[in-house]
C-alpha cells in the first residue's frame, strides 16, 4: 500500500476546509503535486503545502493510504466523496468527515465533530471516540440520507444520527450504524437503516420510522408512546445478514406515520 503522510504544521484560528484530501485526489500524484492542491482557510484559498508537511507518494486510488497527524480537530471535509483507499486520522477531527463517501475506509483515532459520514453511499467510517450530531445523516433539505456503508462509533453519537437513512433490498444496500450510546432522535425518519447500540439511548429513538431495524442493548430513557410491543425474541436477524444474540423485547413503530410502518425496535430485556 502506498502511503502518504500529512502532518499539520499550523495552529488553526478558523476552520480549514480540506475536501481535496481524499485518496481519489491523491492517486498517482507525488508529494510535490499534492502540496499544491487547494484548501480553504477562512475566506482564502490556500494549498495543502501551506498547512501540512507532506511526504510519500501514491499509486492508484484503491491502494492509496493517507495518514494524518497533528491536531486536526478544526479541519472539515476530509474524505469528501472518496470512492476507495484509506485515510487514518490520529487526532480529533472536524465536521463533515467522510461525507458522501462511496467506498474505502476512514479511521478516526479520536472524536469526530458534527455530520460525520453524512450522506454516506458506501465504504466504512470508524471513530474510536465520540461523534457529534447528525452521524450518517442527510444534509438539510434532503429526504434521503445514508444509503449504504457502515459507520462504527465506539463512544456516543449526537442527536438525529441516521436521519432519513434509506436502504434498498433489491440492490442489497443496508446502511448501518454501530455505536456505544446515542443522544436523542436516533434513527428519526428511518427508511431502512440498521442501527445497533451497545449501551443506552436518549428519548425519541426511531421517531417517524417507516422501516428499519434498531437494536438497543442498553436502556431507552423514554420510549415514544406510538411504539407497540410485539413480543420477545432470543436473537435479532438483521437484513444485512448479521445475527445479534440475546433476549430483546421487540417493538413495532413508529405508528405515528400515516402508512403502516414496517419498522422494528429491539430493546434488551
Amino acid at each position: 500500500m502506498a502511503e502518504i503522510k500529512l502532518k499539520i504544521k499550523k495552529k488553526l484560528d478558523f476552520p480549514l476546509e480540506t475536501d481535496s484530501i481524499t485518496p481519489d485526489n491523491f492517486a498517482g500524484k507525488t508529494a510535490a503535486v499534492i502540496k499544491k492542491l487547494p484548501l480553504f482557510y477562512a475566506t482564502k484559498q490556500v494549498t495543502i503545502g501551506d498547512f501540512f508537511d507532506v511526504s510519500g507518494k501514491s499509486t492508484d486510488v484503491a491502494d492509496t493510504k493517507i495518514v494524518i497527524d497533528g491536531d486536526v480537530s478544526n479541519v472539515k471535509r476530509i474524505g469528501e466523496k472518496m470512492t476507495g483507499g484509506e485515510i487514518i486520522i490520529n487526532s480529533d477531527i472536524g465536521m463533515h468527515i467522510g461525507n458522501h463517501m462511496s467506498g474505502g475506509k476512514i479511521t478516526v483515532n479520536g472524536n469526530a465533530d458534527d455530520w460525520a459520514g453524512a450522506m454516506l453511499q458506501g465504504g466504512e467510517l470508524e471513530i474510536t471516540g465520540d461523534a457529534g450530531h447528525y452521524v450518517g445523516s442527510a444534509y438539510r433539505g434532503y429526504w434521503q440520507g445514508m444509503k449504504n456503508g457502515t459507520i462504527k462509533v465506539k463512544g456516543k453519537v449526537g442527536v438525529e444520527s441516521m436521519l432519513w437513512a434509506k436502504s434498498s433490498k433489491p440492490s442489497n444496500k443496508w446502511p448501518t450504524l454501530y455505536c456505544g450510546s446515542a443522544d436523542s432522535f436516533l434513527g428519526i425518519h428511518n427508511h431502512g437503516g440498521t442501527i445497533v447500540v451497545e449501551g443506552d439511548v436518549d428519548r425519541c429513538v426511531g421517531a417517524d420510522q417507516a422501516w428499519g431495524n434498531i437494536v438497543i442493548k442498553g436502556k431507552v430513557s423514554r420510549l415514544l408512546p406510538s411504539y407497540k410491543k410485539v413480543g420477545e425474541v432470543k436473537e435479532v436477524q438483521l437484513p444485512n445478514g448479521e445475527v445479534i444474540k440475546g433476549k430483546f423485547i421487540e417493538y413495532s413503530g413508529d405508528h405515528t406515520i400515516k402508512k403502516e410502518t414496517n419498522g422494528r425496535l429491539y430493546i434488551a430485556a
Binding site: 480553504f40 421517531a207 415514544l224 405508528h255
Partner: protein, 441 residues
C-alpha cells in the same frame, strides 16, 4: 387656524410579526415629536414614542476611543467600519430583523463582497421552523383566512397576550369574520403550554404539557388520529383520554389553525417539534381544513428570510467564505460560530445580540471589533467599537416588511429622522462604497 398636529393613518407598526396596519400616529408639526399613538398595543405605542430624541437615542456616529464613545463624522465612522470589515478574516453580518427589506438586500450585497457569514435573528428564534418546513413542507394560510374562517385555534408554545398583544383582537380570537360572525363566541381556543399563561386563561381549553416533552405529545395525538391504540395512561403529563377528546375536537372543526412559537423552537428537539406539528396539521386535512402559522417575533424577520432567499437561495445562517452562498444551521449559525470563537469581527444591524444571545457567545462577540447599526443604546451598542446611528424603519423611513403569514406590507414614514441619523439602507450603501474603495474594485 394653524394646524399643530399632523395625523398619519393606516400606519404599519414596526414591532412584532403581527404587523398591525391600522395605527394612527399624531406628530407635532413644529417639534416633529410623536405625541399620540392610537390603535397600537403598549409595545408598539412605546416604540413610536421612543423615536423622540432622548438620552438613549444615538444622534451622531460614534467611535470608541480609550474606552469612551466619541462623536465623529459619518465619513470617519464609515471609514473605520469598512477598515474593520475588510481586515477581518471571517466577519459576521448579523441581525436585519428590525429593518425594512431594501436594507436587508444591501446586507446581502455587503456580505457577498466580503465573503462573510450572513445571518438574521431567525437563527435564535424560528430558524427551527424553517428547518422543519424544508424537511416536511407546511400547510399555511394568511391571517385574513384565520379571521374569516377559523373556528378552532390552537396556540402551542405561544403566548400572544404578551408577545403579540393585538393578534387575538385583529385576527385569531375576538374579531368577527365573514364566516365567524359572532366573533369570540364562534371560536374554540385551545392553548398548550407548561404554564397557565394569560392566553391560556382566556382560552376555552388549556392543556398543561410537561416542559420539553411536546414532541411525544404531538406524536401521541398523530397516532390516535390515525387510529393507533396507545398502551399508556398519559403522555407528557396529559391523560390519554384528554388526548382522545382533543383529537375528536380537531377532526370535527370546520377550519383549524395551529399558531406556534418559541415553546416548540427553543425547547429540546427544536425543529423536530415543529416537524411533527406540521405533519399533524397535514394529517388533519384528511378530515377537515387545517393550517399552521409560525408566530414570528420581529416585524420583519420574515422579510429577512424572504430577501436572503431571493438573493442566495437560503433564508439564514449563510456562509460566503468560498465565494458562493452555502447554508447549514448549526455550522454557520451566529451563536454556534461565536461559541467556537470562529468570527473575528461583526457588523450587527437592527438587532441586539448582547441582550438576546447566551452569555458565553456574547463573551466571544465582545473579544473582537464590533460595528453596531442601531438607533438606541443597548447592551450590544454600548460595547461597540463603531456606532452608526440609524433612523427607525417604519417611523422615520419607509420600506417593505413581511408579516408572520408572508404578506408584505408597506411601512410608512411619519416623521423625519432626527439628528444625523440615516436609514439602515443608506448606511449600508455608504458602507458598501467604502468597502469597494478599500478592496480596490
Amino acid at each position: 387656524m394653524v394646524e399643530k398636529i399632523r395625523t398619519e393613518k393606516d400606519v404599519s407598526c414596526p414591532f412584532c410579526g403581527t404587523l398591525c396596519d391600522d395605527l394612527e400616529i399624531d406628530v407635532d408639526i413644529k417639534t416633529d415629536l410623536v405625541v399620540e399613538v392610537r390603535n397600537g398595543c403598549q409595545i408598539g405605542t412605546k416604540k413610536y414614542f421612543s423615536s423622540n430624541p432622548s438620552d438613549h437615542r444615538y444622534m451622531k456616529p460614534l467611535i470608541k476611543v480609550n474606552g469612551e464613545h466619541k462623536e465623529v463624522s459619518w465619513d470617519e465612522a464609515l471609514d473605520k467600519a469598512a477598515d474593520i470589515l475588510v481586515n477581518a478574516q471571517r466577519p459576521l453580518l448579523y441581525g436585519f430583523s428590525s429593518t425594512e427589506c431594501e436594507a436587508q438586500s444591501k446586507g446581502v450585497e455587503l456580505a457577498e463582497m466580503l465573503n462573510a457569514l450572513l445571518d438574521n435573528t431567525a437563527s435564535v428564534c424560528h430558524g427551527p421552523s424553517l428547518l422543519a418546513i424544508q424537511d416536511v413542507g407546511a400547510s399555511l394560510a394568511t391571517l385574513g383566512e384565520i379571521k374569516n374562517r377559523a373556528d378552532t385555534i390552537i396556540f402551542w408554545g405561544s403566548n400572544p397576550v404578551h408577545a403579540h398583544p393585538r393578534h387575538l383582537s385583529r385576527y385569531s380570537d375576538f374579531i368577527r369574520g365573514y364566516f365567524r360572525t359572532d366573533g369570540r363566541n364562534d371560536r374554540n381556543i385551545i392553548v398548550v403550554d407548561p404554564r397557565n399563561t394569560h392566553t391560556a386563561q382566556i382560552a376555552d381549553k388549556y392543556i398543561k404539557v410537561n416542559p420539553s416533552e411536546d414532541y411525544e405529545l404531538i406524536q401521541a395525538i398523530r397516532a390516535v388520529l390515525r387510529g393507533s391504540e396507545l398502551d399508556v395512561k398519559e403522555v407528557s403529563g396529559v391523560p390519554i383520554d384528554d388526548i382522545k377528546e382533543l383529537v375528536e375536537e380537531l377532526k370535527s372543526c370546520n377550519f383549524g389553525v395551529v399558531f406556534f412559537g418559541m415553546g416548540l423552537t427553543q425547547s429540546l428537539a427544536h425543529h423536530r417539534n415543529v416537524d411533527t406539528a406540521i405533519r399533524l396539521v397535514a394529517e388533519l386535512n384528511d378530515y377537515t381544513k387545517f393550517v399552521l402559522i409560525p408566530m414570528r417575533g420581529h416585524y420583519n424577520v420574515a422579510g429577512a428570510n424572504q430577501v436572503f432567499t431571493w438573493n442566495t437561495g437560503y433564508a439564514y445562517s449563510i456562509d460566503f467564505s468560498r465565494g458562493y452562498p452555502r447554508y447549514n444551521p448549526g455550522e454557520f449559525s451566529s451563536v454556534e460560530l461565536l461559541l467556537r470563537d470562529e468570527v473575528d469581527a461583526s457588523l450587527i444591524v437592527a438587532s441586539d445580540p448582547g441582550s438576546n444571545f447566551p452569555a458565553a457567545s456574547v463573551k466571544n462577540l465582545f473579544k473582537h471589533p464590533l460595528i453596531s447599526i442601531e438607533p438606541h443604546k443597548t447592551p450590544t451598542s454600548a460595547f461597540a467599537d463603531v456606532i452608526l446611528p440609524a433612523a427607525i424603519a417604519g417611523i422615520e423611513c419607509e420600506g417593505t416588511a413581511y408579516r408572520m403569514d408572508g404578506v408584505p406590507l408597506r411601512l410608512r414614514k411619519v416623521k423625519d429622522a432626527p439628528g444625523e441619523t440615516l436609514p439602515d439602507k443608506e448606511i449600508l450603501e455608504r458602507l458598501i462604497e467604502k468597502v469597494k474603495e478599500k478592496i480596490g474594485e
